[in-house]
């Protein structure tokens, strides 16, 4: 890309230097262009159009918090020593002086209390990890509820899903590095989960920990995973995610002039780039502000890892809470077969976790199998136009949430003065009842919103002004919608249940019936015509009663006065 010197300006001696800079830029740009021939690509990117909506910005938040993670993580790596060698702590934190701790724990304390800015960087790293996962989840929900995962974006959904799972791995491996009591407890749970796998479990655990738990290998190993393996995978997948985004072009909400064939928005350069740059600094600012003011993970309070103590309030970071919840809810079921202990209390939760993740990953494929829809979709669904999908999504969230809440049962109990036993039972029942309940409630709400939209498309908005004609008839004045607004209300897809037979399996017929048996008939052209006629007729009646003046008598008097 080249920059040109504005030659209309009269040059003063001051300007001369800046014009030299311009020329340098031009020459430099040209130099690069001739060697990389990237001009075409840059132009292509610069002219890409991105639509604008606040709900599209959470993916960006995730990206930016990842950048902050990389920057702060690099800083931490310079001072952290992933070694489980035992040393005697002699740093400035008095209540641990003389304590035997691992090098990893000692160096974490050094970062916190001795390295300048170390505590801030530690907190930035940890807070941005939490924000990274929050942003991924919100972004994922946005994509889900607007149907942005539909063809051609199914693969990108899988890439995003994998990023979410990798985010959990990154978070968990990082959380374990300081070698404090809390992180050791987390590893203990992983150890337990692995050992519960029949036959191979013990070997797996021995392999991971390099012998008996906890051993002296796990932290160096997790360190490699945490700073090399997982970040590299995340970076690679982010690249794929973004390339696919550019290839597919961004989706947009239905609106005036927006079709399946265009994208309405701003060009990347300069508008979107400037905006994204600004947004990066805002995210950076928010995370820095939070990290400078709010404590996170004070490892010195938990103390160095030692297998015996377990503190009250031992929980993983929020995005791993759900994996702890199942373990807290399940009764202690286990039995012995041929001398092997089968720990159902571990295996059942693991099965549930697998099902939750699997259903999330496969949903786009399940839905397209049900609808049989093979068209490309670049216009987003308004969530209420897909009642069953929206219901299923909310129901998935409710299971996730109940698991996460179950993992915090002790904190809730003390916070709300409830009995932890009652809470556990409430969650045990809730996990079966609530998802079903919220599914039906959400679906009902969506359907009634659809009905409302249909009414509005046909009859316009109500003005709450009622006219009485000479004959005593009461008529409400309706404001007709303009074409664009009406189009938004009537553009969505309509599916019907299929009959089994003729190439439709009975399973698919049942699935379509589950998805589409409750549907609101979309507005047909004939209905619209009729509505227009009715409207014209009614308007005529109203006009003859009011003389075309829709003001109330009070308003008329007010204006006259």
């Amino acid at each position: 890309m080249t920059t040109t010197t504005p030659d209309t300006r009269k040059q003063t001696s001051d300007d001369a230097s800046s014009s030299r800079v311009y020329k340098l830029g031009a020459v430099g740009g040209d130099w690069l262009d001739q060697r990389l021939s990237g001009g075409g690509f840059v132009k292509f990117i610069a002219r890409k159009i991105f639509p604008d909506h606040w709900s599209f910005m959470f993916g960006e938040v995730a990206l930016y918090s990842f950048v902050i993670l990389l920057i702060s993580g690099t800083f931490l790596t310079m001072f952290f020593d992933p070694s489980m060698e035992e040393v005697v702590y002699n740093g400035p934190y008095v209540p641990l002086q003389g304590e035997h701790v691992s090098r990893a724990f000692e160096s974490t304390l050094q970062i916190s209390f001795e390295v300048k800015g170390g505590l801030l960087f530690r907190q930035m790293h940890h807070w941005s990890a939490l924000v990274f996962m929050v942003a991924i989840f919100v972004h994922m929900f946005r994509v889900f509820f607007t149907g942005a995962f539909r063809k051609p974006r199914e693969l990108n959904w899988i890439v995003g899903f994998t990023l979410m799972v990798l985010g959990m791995v990154a978070g968990f491996s990082g959380y374990s590095l300081p070698d404090d009591v809390l992180s050791g407890n987390g590893l203990r749970v992983i150890d337990g989960l692995m050992k519960s796998i029949p036959i191979i479990g013990t070997y797996l655990s021995m392999l991971l920990f390099g012998g008996e738990f906890p051993g002296t290998d796990i932290i160096p190993r997790l360190f490699t995973v945490h700073i090399l393996l997982v970040p590299a995978m995340i970076l690679g997948l982010i690249a794929i995610h973004l390339v696919l985004l550019v290839l597919h072009k961004h989706t947009q909400y239905p609106g005036p002039g927006r079709t399946e064939r265009n994208v309405v928005g701003f060009p990347v350069f300069p508008v979107y780039a400037a905006k994204a740059g600004g947004f990066f600094f805002l995210v950076f600012g928010v995370i820095t502000l939070i990290s400078a003011t709010t404590a996170i993970n004070g490892v010195w309070v938990y103390g160095p890892y030692d297998p015996s103590p377990v503190s009250a309030g031992s929980q993983p970071d929020w995005y791993m809470l759900w994996t702890d919840g199942g373990l807290r809810l399940i009764p202690g079921w286990e039995f012995t077969i041929f001398g092997y202990v089968i720990s159902l209390n571990m295996l059942i939760p693991m099965g549930i976790y697998g099902a939750l993740l699997g259903s999330l990953a496969l949903y786009p494929f399940i839905e397209s199998w049900v609808t049989g829809d093979d068209r490309e979709h670049h216009l987003l669904d308004l969530p209420y136009n897909a009642p069953v999908r929206t219901g299923l999504g909310v129901s998935w969230i409710s299971v996730y949430l109940i698991l996460a809440l179950a993992a915090t049962n002790d904190i809730i109990a003390i916070g709300l003065h409830l009995s932890i036993n009652d809470l556990t039972w409430a969650f045990r029942i809730g996990i079966f009842v609530v998802p079903v309940l919220v599914f039906f409630i959400t679906k009902r709400i969506c359907l009634s919103l659809q009905r409302q939209a249909r009414q509005k498309a046909l009859h316009g908005s109500e003005t709450s002004r009622v006219v009485r004609t000479e004959s005593g008839k009461m008529l409400e004045i309706h404001e007709p919608l303009d074409e664009f607004d009406r189009w938004v209300l009537v553009q969505h897809d309509d599916y019907r249940p299929l009959q089994a037979g003729k190439g439709v399996s009975s399973l698919r017929a049942k699935a379509t019936s589950f998805f589409f048996k409750d549907r609101i008939e979309p507005v047909s052209p004939a209905e619209l015509r009729e509505a227009f006629e009715h409207y014209a007729h009614e308007k005529h009646e109203i006009d003859s009663a009011t003389g075309g003046d829709y003001r109330t008598p009070a308003e008329t008097a007010h204006h006259a006065g």
């Binding site: 604008d52 606040w54 910005m57 959470f58 938040v61 008095v94 209540p95 641990l96 003389g98 304590e99 209390f113 505590l119 907190q123 807070w127 939490l130 929050v134 942003a135 009591v181 809390l182 150890d191 337990g192 050992k195 519960s196 013990t202 738990f213 701003f266 905006k275 947004f279 805002l282 928010v286 400078a292 003011t293 709010t294 404590a295 996170i296 004070g298 309070v301 938990y302 103390g303 030692d306 015996s308 103590p309 377990v310 503190s311 009250a312 309030g313 031992s314 929980q315 993983p316 929020w318 809470l321 373990l327 092997y340 720990s343 915090t408 003390i414 003065h417 409830l418 009995s419 036993n421």
Partner: protein, 266 residues
């Protein structure tokens, strides 16, 4: 595969075992109560004044002779106080737990109703009924003589599973809870360990010597003094409140930025 079964435990299982062990220790204490209380010198006047106060404020639940009372259904209104010692009275009355207001899962800490003198007199009266742990000597409350690091180790192993590593408190079964221990008067910390109020196990002189108790007090003092170097502590209850903070405060800040930028662009 016994080894496998033994190692399969969830941290909660560990906690339960520890609790059981501690409760058992408490039980043993009651059985073989060491009668080593260094009796503070109370005068007969103190005892008499204490008895009068007791009859007026405590006898309705604990009985006229502190022998304990049951209601019509046979459930205890108040336990016998014979042999609980001056330390128990000083703790219960000094932290406002006694006289108890209404029966619930647990007696709550509240502003004390008795002044220091009255508390001393009540303690004198209960101490006169039978030997028990006495109010600790000043010497064992002096944090300048304690070792915070050793106290920290003791605290993490013996207390953190109920009171949380940061001393922020935690939930027990059936609505009972271990209260926060930061900011509690050192004397009351000592007495809590010595008498094991309600669901707390007793840490008698055989499992925690007076010097050990002083180390614990020194550690709690250091924790309080150290505060929260990272800023707002969010209640010091760990990752749960941190996650909640991320989902509420931080997410709304970011949402605000996104909406603001969106509005700016138009």
């Amino acid at each position: 595969m016994k080894a496998l079964a033994a190692r399969r435990h969830h941290p909660m299982a560990l906690l339960v075992i520890l609790l059981l062990a501690l409760v058992a220790t408490g039980g043993l204490y009651v059985a073989f109560q060491p009668q080593t209380a260094q009796a503070e010198s109370y005068t007969q006047d103190d005892v008499d004044a204490g008895e009068a106060l007791f009859l007026a404020n405590c006898a309705t639940c604990h009985g006229r002779n502190a022998e304990g009372l049951q209601d019509a259904d046979g459930s205890a209104l108040g336990p016998s106080l014979i042999g609980v010692g001056a330390a128990a009275v000083d703790f219960q009355v000094g932290t406002g737990r006694m006289p108890m207001e209404n029966s619930g899962a647990q007696a709550w800490r509240k502003p004390p109703q008795m002044n220091d003198e009255q508390t001393r007199q009540l303690a004198a009266y209960v101490a006169s009924l039978g030997p028990g742990p006495a109010v600790p000597d000043e010497e064992y409350l002096d944090t300048s003589k304690g070792d915070a690091t050793k106290g920290g180790e003791i605290f993490r192993i013996n207390c953190a599973m109920c009171h949380n590593a940061a001393g922020a408190g935690g939930a027990l079964t059936r609505g009972k809870f271990a209260p926060p221990v930061i900011g509690v008067d050192p004397k009351h910390v000592y007495e809590a360990m010595d008498t094991g109020p309600q669901n707390m196990p007793v840490f008698n002189e055989n499992n925690l010597s007076p010097e050990d108790k002083r180390d614990v007090i020194t550690y709690l003092d250091a924790l309080e003094e150290n505060g929260s170097p990272g800023g707002i502590s969010l209640g010091s209850v760990g990752p749960v409140t941190e996650g909640l903070y991320a989902w509420t405060i931080i997410l709304s800040l970011l949402l605000g930025c996104a909406v603001w930028l969106g509005a700016k662009a138009k």
